[in-house]
Protein backbone atom coordinates (compact mmCIF):
# COMPACT_ATOMS: atom_id res chain seq x y z
CA UNK A 1 0.00 0.00 0.00
CA UNK A 2 2.83 2.35 0.91
CA UNK A 3 4.61 1.54 -2.36
CA UNK A 4 1.44 2.27 -4.31
CA UNK A 5 1.01 5.60 -2.53
CA UNK A 6 4.63 6.51 -3.27
CA UNK A 7 4.16 5.58 -6.91
CA UNK A 8 1.04 7.75 -7.19
CA UNK A 9 2.80 10.66 -5.48
CA UNK A 10 5.80 10.39 -7.80
CA UNK A 11 3.57 10.10 -10.88
CA UNK A 12 1.36 13.06 -10.04
CA UNK A 13 4.38 15.10 -8.93
CA UNK A 14 6.12 14.32 -12.21
CA UNK A 15 2.98 15.30 -14.10
CA UNK A 16 2.80 18.61 -12.24
CA UNK A 17 6.49 19.30 -12.91
CA UNK A 18 5.93 18.46 -16.58
CA UNK A 19 2.97 20.86 -16.69
CA UNK A 20 5.00 23.74 -15.25
CA UNK A 21 7.00 23.74 -18.50
CA UNK A 22 3.97 25.30 -20.22
CA UNK A 23 3.69 28.11 -17.67
CA UNK A 24 4.52 31.59 -18.89
CA UNK A 25 7.88 32.62 -17.46
CA UNK A 26 7.98 34.83 -14.38
CA UNK A 27 6.95 38.42 -15.07
CA UNK A 28 6.12 37.73 -18.74
CA UNK A 29 4.12 40.74 -20.03
CA UNK A 30 2.48 38.62 -22.74
CA UNK A 31 1.05 35.98 -20.41
CA UNK A 32 -2.77 35.75 -20.26
CA UNK A 33 -2.80 36.88 -16.62
CA UNK A 34 -1.14 40.20 -17.43
CA UNK A 35 -2.91 40.97 -20.71
CA UNK A 36 -6.55 40.58 -19.65
CA UNK A 37 -7.66 42.98 -16.89
CA UNK A 38 -4.36 43.73 -15.13
CA UNK A 39 -3.31 46.60 -17.43
CA UNK A 40 -6.63 48.32 -16.85
CA UNK A 41 -6.26 48.09 -13.07
CA UNK A 42 -2.67 49.29 -13.23
CA UNK A 43 -3.54 52.26 -15.42
CA UNK A 44 -6.88 53.33 -14.01
CA UNK A 45 -6.97 52.34 -10.34
CA UNK A 46 -5.20 55.46 -9.09
CA UNK A 47 -7.44 57.89 -10.95
CA UNK A 48 -10.60 55.89 -10.18
CA UNK A 49 -10.06 55.17 -6.49
CA UNK A 50 -7.24 57.49 -5.35
CA UNK A 51 -5.49 54.48 -3.80
CA UNK A 52 -1.80 54.14 -4.73
CA UNK A 53 -1.59 50.48 -3.64
CA UNK A 54 -3.22 48.60 -6.52
CA UNK A 55 -3.55 45.42 -4.46
CA UNK A 56 -5.73 47.16 -1.89
CA UNK A 57 -7.82 48.82 -4.60
CA UNK A 58 -8.48 45.50 -6.34
CA UNK A 59 -9.05 43.59 -3.11
CA UNK A 60 -11.47 45.95 -1.41
CA UNK A 61 -13.04 47.84 -4.30
CA UNK A 62 -13.02 46.08 -7.67
CA UNK A 63 -13.27 42.67 -6.03
CA UNK A 64 -15.02 43.84 -2.87
CA UNK A 65 -17.67 41.17 -3.08
CA UNK A 66 -15.05 38.39 -2.90
CA UNK A 67 -13.37 39.99 0.08
CA UNK A 68 -16.68 40.31 1.89
CA UNK A 69 -17.18 36.57 1.69
CA UNK A 70 -13.55 35.93 2.63
CA UNK A 71 -14.30 37.81 5.83
CA UNK A 72 -17.44 35.72 6.23
CA UNK A 73 -15.38 32.55 5.81
CA UNK A 74 -13.05 33.67 8.62
CA UNK A 75 -16.07 34.48 10.78
CA UNK A 76 -17.47 31.00 10.06
CA UNK A 77 -14.11 29.45 11.04
CA UNK A 78 -14.32 31.24 14.39
CA UNK A 79 -17.92 30.13 14.93
CA UNK A 80 -17.02 26.54 14.01
CA UNK A 81 -14.13 26.52 16.53
CA UNK A 82 -16.44 27.91 19.19
CA UNK A 83 -19.20 25.37 18.46
CA UNK A 84 -16.83 22.38 18.36
CA UNK A 85 -14.63 23.17 21.34
CA UNK A 86 -16.41 25.40 23.83
CA UNK A 87 -17.54 23.59 26.97
CA UNK A 88 -19.80 25.27 29.50
CA UNK A 89 -20.60 22.64 32.13
CA UNK A 90 -17.92 22.50 34.82
CA UNK A 91 -16.11 19.16 35.07
CA UNK A 92 -14.46 17.40 37.96
CA UNK A 93 -11.69 19.84 38.55
CA UNK A 94 -8.48 20.46 40.38
CA UNK A 95 -7.73 24.03 41.30
CA UNK A 96 -4.30 25.31 42.17
CA UNK A 97 -3.65 28.49 44.11
CA UNK A 98 -0.50 30.21 45.20
CA UNK A 99 -0.35 31.98 48.53
CA UNK A 100 1.35 35.17 47.45
CA UNK A 101 3.17 36.16 50.71
CA UNK A 102 4.72 32.72 51.30
CA UNK A 103 4.79 31.19 47.80
CA UNK A 104 2.98 28.09 49.06
CA UNK A 105 0.89 26.16 46.50
CA UNK A 106 -2.61 25.03 47.44
CA UNK A 107 -4.41 22.19 45.68
CA UNK A 108 -8.22 22.11 45.99
CA UNK A 109 -10.35 19.25 44.70
CA UNK A 110 -14.09 19.29 44.04
CA UNK A 111 -16.49 22.21 43.98
CA UNK A 112 -14.87 24.49 46.57
CA UNK A 113 -12.83 27.45 45.46
CA UNK A 114 -11.24 30.61 46.75
CA UNK A 115 -13.06 33.74 45.56
CA UNK A 116 -11.24 35.39 42.69
CA UNK A 117 -11.23 38.73 44.55
CA UNK A 118 -8.84 37.33 47.17
CA UNK A 119 -5.68 39.40 47.56
CA UNK A 120 -3.77 36.65 49.37
CA UNK A 121 -4.24 33.84 46.86
CA UNK A 122 -3.68 33.81 43.14
CA UNK A 123 -4.98 31.10 40.84
CA UNK A 124 -2.28 29.27 38.89
CA UNK A 125 -2.37 26.70 36.09
CA UNK A 126 -2.30 22.97 36.79
CA UNK A 127 0.79 22.52 34.65
CA UNK A 128 2.60 25.25 36.45
CA UNK A 129 5.01 27.35 34.52
CA UNK A 130 7.05 29.85 36.48
CA UNK A 131 6.14 33.38 35.45
CA UNK A 132 9.31 34.90 34.21
CA UNK A 133 9.73 38.50 35.27
CA UNK A 134 11.62 39.46 32.11
CA UNK A 135 9.09 37.90 29.72
CA UNK A 136 6.18 39.46 31.60
CA UNK A 137 7.68 42.94 31.61
CA UNK A 138 8.87 42.86 28.02
CA UNK A 139 5.56 41.59 26.67
CA UNK A 140 3.66 44.16 28.72
CA UNK A 141 5.78 46.92 27.19
CA UNK A 142 5.54 45.40 23.73
CA UNK A 143 1.75 45.01 23.51
CA UNK A 144 0.88 48.70 22.95
CA UNK A 145 3.51 48.99 20.24
CA UNK A 146 2.23 45.86 18.50
CA UNK A 147 -1.29 47.27 18.61
CA UNK A 148 -0.15 50.65 17.30
CA UNK A 149 1.65 48.92 14.44
CA UNK A 150 -1.48 46.89 13.68
CA UNK A 151 -3.60 50.04 13.52
CA UNK A 152 -0.99 51.60 11.24
CA UNK A 153 -1.10 48.55 8.97
CA UNK A 154 -4.91 48.79 8.72
CA UNK A 155 -5.02 52.55 8.22
CA UNK A 156 -2.01 52.75 5.90
CA UNK A 157 -3.06 49.85 3.69
CA UNK A 158 -3.91 52.36 0.95
CA UNK A 159 -0.32 53.44 0.53
CA UNK A 160 1.83 50.52 1.68
CA UNK A 161 1.46 46.75 1.88
CA UNK A 162 -1.05 45.76 4.49
CA UNK A 163 -4.72 46.08 5.15
CA UNK A 164 -7.49 44.60 7.21
CA UNK A 165 -6.38 40.97 7.22
CA UNK A 166 -2.77 41.55 8.23
CA UNK A 167 -3.60 44.32 10.69
CA UNK A 168 -6.35 42.23 12.25
CA UNK A 169 -4.03 39.26 12.69
CA UNK A 170 -1.37 41.46 14.33
CA UNK A 171 -3.99 43.03 16.59
CA UNK A 172 -5.18 39.56 17.61
CA UNK A 173 -1.57 38.47 18.15
CA UNK A 174 -1.06 41.29 20.66
CA UNK A 175 -3.74 39.74 22.91
CA UNK A 176 -2.35 36.24 22.28
CA UNK A 177 1.06 37.50 23.44
CA UNK A 178 -0.58 38.44 26.74
CA UNK A 179 -2.14 34.99 26.99
CA UNK A 180 1.18 33.26 26.32
CA UNK A 181 3.35 35.46 28.54
CA UNK A 182 0.96 35.65 31.52
CA UNK A 183 -1.92 33.19 31.39
CA UNK A 184 -5.21 32.77 29.60
CA UNK A 185 -7.24 34.31 32.42
CA UNK A 186 -5.31 37.59 32.16
CA UNK A 187 -5.97 37.78 28.43
CA UNK A 188 -9.67 36.90 28.84
CA UNK A 189 -9.98 39.56 31.56
CA UNK A 190 -8.61 42.16 29.17
CA UNK A 191 -10.64 41.02 26.19
CA UNK A 192 -13.72 39.11 27.29
CA UNK A 193 -15.44 36.30 25.49
CA UNK A 194 -18.71 38.18 24.94
CA UNK A 195 -16.97 41.23 23.45
CA UNK A 196 -14.96 38.84 21.29
CA UNK A 197 -18.09 37.20 19.89
CA UNK A 198 -19.82 40.51 19.32
CA UNK A 199 -16.79 42.02 17.59
CA UNK A 200 -16.31 39.10 15.21
CA UNK A 201 -19.90 39.54 14.04
CA UNK A 202 -19.58 43.34 14.09
CA UNK A 203 -16.66 43.25 11.65
CA UNK A 204 -18.64 41.33 9.04
CA UNK A 205 -21.62 43.59 9.76
CA UNK A 206 -19.54 46.73 9.09
CA UNK A 207 -18.40 45.34 5.75
CA UNK A 208 -21.85 44.25 4.61
CA UNK A 209 -23.35 47.39 6.17
CA UNK A 210 -21.14 49.69 4.10
CA UNK A 211 -22.19 47.75 1.02
CA UNK A 212 -25.87 47.95 1.91
CA UNK A 213 -25.51 51.64 2.74
CA UNK A 214 -24.20 52.26 -0.77
CA UNK A 215 -27.26 50.44 -2.09
CA UNK A 216 -29.55 52.60 0.07
CA UNK A 217 -27.87 55.74 -1.30
CA UNK A 218 -28.87 54.68 -4.78
CA UNK A 219 -25.85 52.88 -6.26
CA UNK A 220 -24.97 49.20 -6.56
CA UNK A 221 -24.05 47.09 -3.54
CA UNK A 222 -20.48 47.99 -2.45
CA UNK A 223 -20.20 50.82 -5.00
CA UNK A 224 -18.46 53.32 -2.71
CA UNK A 225 -18.95 56.21 -5.12
CA UNK A 226 -22.41 56.60 -3.60
CA UNK A 227 -20.80 57.58 -0.29
CA UNK A 228 -19.91 60.95 -1.86
CA UNK A 229 -23.51 62.01 -1.18
CA UNK A 230 -22.93 62.02 2.58
CA UNK A 231 -19.17 62.57 2.85
CA UNK A 232 -17.73 66.02 2.09
CA UNK A 233 -15.46 64.59 -0.63
CA UNK A 234 -15.57 63.84 -4.33
CA UNK A 235 -16.63 60.53 -5.84
CA UNK A 236 -13.05 59.30 -6.28
CA UNK A 237 -12.07 60.11 -2.70
CA UNK A 238 -15.30 58.47 -1.51
CA UNK A 239 -14.10 55.16 -2.93
CA UNK A 240 -10.87 55.53 -0.97
CA UNK A 241 -12.81 56.19 2.23
CA UNK A 242 -15.15 53.28 1.49
CA UNK A 243 -12.11 51.01 1.22
CA UNK A 244 -10.88 52.25 4.60
CA UNK A 245 -14.29 51.53 6.16
CA UNK A 246 -14.42 47.95 4.93
CA UNK A 247 -10.77 47.39 5.91
CA UNK A 248 -11.65 48.41 9.45
CA UNK A 249 -14.51 45.90 9.37
CA UNK A 250 -12.18 43.15 8.14
CA UNK A 251 -9.62 44.05 10.81
CA UNK A 252 -12.14 43.84 13.64
CA UNK A 253 -13.53 40.52 12.43
CA UNK A 254 -10.12 38.91 11.91
CA UNK A 255 -8.80 40.10 15.28
CA UNK A 256 -11.80 38.73 17.18
CA UNK A 257 -11.75 35.41 15.33
CA UNK A 258 -8.00 34.89 15.94
CA UNK A 259 -8.45 35.47 19.67
CA UNK A 260 -11.52 33.21 19.72
CA UNK A 261 -9.67 30.35 17.98
CA UNK A 262 -6.63 30.69 20.24
CA UNK A 263 -8.67 30.76 23.45
CA UNK A 264 -10.73 27.74 22.44
CA UNK A 265 -7.80 25.66 21.19
CA UNK A 266 -5.40 26.48 24.01
CA UNK A 267 -7.88 25.77 26.80
CA UNK A 268 -9.88 22.96 25.15
CA UNK A 269 -12.89 25.27 25.29
CA UNK A 270 -12.84 25.67 29.07
CA UNK A 271 -11.35 29.16 29.10
CA UNK A 272 -9.61 28.58 32.44
CA UNK A 273 -6.02 27.72 31.71
CA UNK A 274 -4.08 27.63 28.50
CA UNK A 275 -0.62 27.54 27.11
Amino acid sequence: MKRLALLIVILSGGLLLYATKDFPSWGDPNSPASTHVSPRYLEKSLEETAVPNVVTAVLADYRGYDTMFETTVIFCAGVACFMLLRKFEPEERDLYYRHIPTGLTLHIKGEKQIPSTSKEFEKIDAIWTPYDFIINTVSRFLVPFIQLFALYVIAHGHHSPGGGFQGGVILGASIIVLAVAFNLRTAVRRFGEKIDGIMSALGVFIYAGVGAFCAILGAEFLNYRALAKILPVGKVMARSHGILAVEIGVGIAVMAVMICIYNNVASEGKFDEGL
Binding site: W26, P161, V169, I170, V180, V265, G274, L275
Partner: protein
Protein backbone atom coordinates in the same frame (compact mmCIF):
# COMPACT_ATOMS: atom_id res chain seq x y z
CA UNK B 1 15.59 38.44 -8.67
CA UNK B 2 18.92 36.93 -7.55
CA UNK B 3 18.82 33.31 -8.65
CA UNK B 4 21.34 32.07 -6.04
CA UNK B 5 19.18 33.43 -3.22
CA UNK B 6 16.09 32.04 -4.89
CA UNK B 7 17.63 28.59 -5.18
CA UNK B 8 18.85 28.58 -1.58
CA UNK B 9 15.42 29.54 -0.25
CA UNK B 10 13.62 27.05 -2.49
CA UNK B 11 15.91 24.28 -1.22
CA UNK B 12 15.17 25.30 2.36
CA UNK B 13 11.41 25.27 1.61
CA UNK B 14 11.62 21.70 0.36
CA UNK B 15 13.82 20.61 3.27
CA UNK B 16 11.38 22.19 5.76
CA UNK B 17 8.38 20.59 4.05
CA UNK B 18 9.90 17.09 4.06
CA UNK B 19 11.16 17.48 7.62
CA UNK B 20 7.75 18.73 8.82
CA UNK B 21 5.97 15.58 7.67
CA UNK B 22 8.67 13.12 8.72
CA UNK B 23 9.57 14.37 12.20
CA UNK B 24 7.77 12.43 14.94
CA UNK B 25 7.85 15.23 17.49
CA UNK B 26 4.73 17.34 16.98
CA UNK B 27 6.16 20.50 18.54
CA UNK B 28 9.08 20.22 16.14
CA UNK B 29 6.63 19.85 13.27
CA UNK B 30 4.85 23.03 14.32
CA UNK B 31 8.13 24.95 14.42
CA UNK B 32 9.24 23.49 11.08
CA UNK B 33 5.93 24.51 9.56
CA UNK B 34 6.52 28.03 10.83
CA UNK B 35 9.96 28.01 9.23
CA UNK B 36 8.39 26.74 6.00
CA UNK B 37 5.90 29.63 6.05
CA UNK B 38 8.68 32.11 6.68
CA UNK B 39 10.67 30.79 3.73
CA UNK B 40 7.56 31.08 1.57
CA UNK B 41 7.19 34.64 2.82
CA UNK B 42 10.75 35.39 1.67
CA UNK B 43 9.95 33.84 -1.72
CA UNK B 44 6.87 36.04 -2.11
CA UNK B 45 8.86 39.13 -1.30
CA UNK B 46 11.60 38.11 -3.77
CA UNK B 47 8.83 37.91 -6.40
CA UNK B 48 7.75 41.45 -5.35
CA UNK B 49 4.35 40.27 -4.07
CA UNK B 50 4.75 42.25 -0.85
CA UNK B 51 1.11 42.09 0.24
CA UNK B 52 1.07 38.30 -0.03
CA UNK B 53 4.40 38.12 1.79
CA UNK B 54 3.00 40.24 4.60
CA UNK B 55 -0.05 37.98 4.92
CA UNK B 56 2.12 34.87 4.86
CA UNK B 57 4.39 36.31 7.56
CA UNK B 58 1.56 37.35 9.87
CA UNK B 59 -0.85 34.45 9.32
CA UNK B 60 1.37 31.55 8.25
CA UNK B 61 4.53 32.12 10.24
CA UNK B 62 2.94 34.02 13.12
CA UNK B 63 -0.50 33.11 14.30
CA UNK B 64 -0.92 29.63 12.81
CA UNK B 65 2.32 28.49 14.48
CA UNK B 66 0.89 29.66 17.79
CA UNK B 67 -2.33 27.75 17.06
CA UNK B 68 -0.35 24.60 16.28
CA UNK B 69 1.71 24.92 19.45
CA UNK B 70 -1.47 25.48 21.46
CA UNK B 71 -3.02 22.36 19.90
CA UNK B 72 0.14 20.30 20.53
CA UNK B 73 0.08 21.46 24.15
CA UNK B 74 -3.34 19.79 24.46
CA UNK B 75 -2.30 16.49 22.87
CA UNK B 76 0.43 13.97 23.46
CA UNK B 77 3.61 15.37 22.08
CA UNK B 78 4.72 12.47 19.92
CA UNK B 79 2.66 10.76 17.18
CA UNK B 80 1.73 7.13 17.69
CA UNK B 81 2.44 6.02 14.13
Amino acid sequence: MIWQLDLAILTLVIVCAIAAISVKDLLGTAILFGAYSFMMCLLWSIMAAVDVAFTEASVGAGVSTVFFVAAVFRTTRRTKD
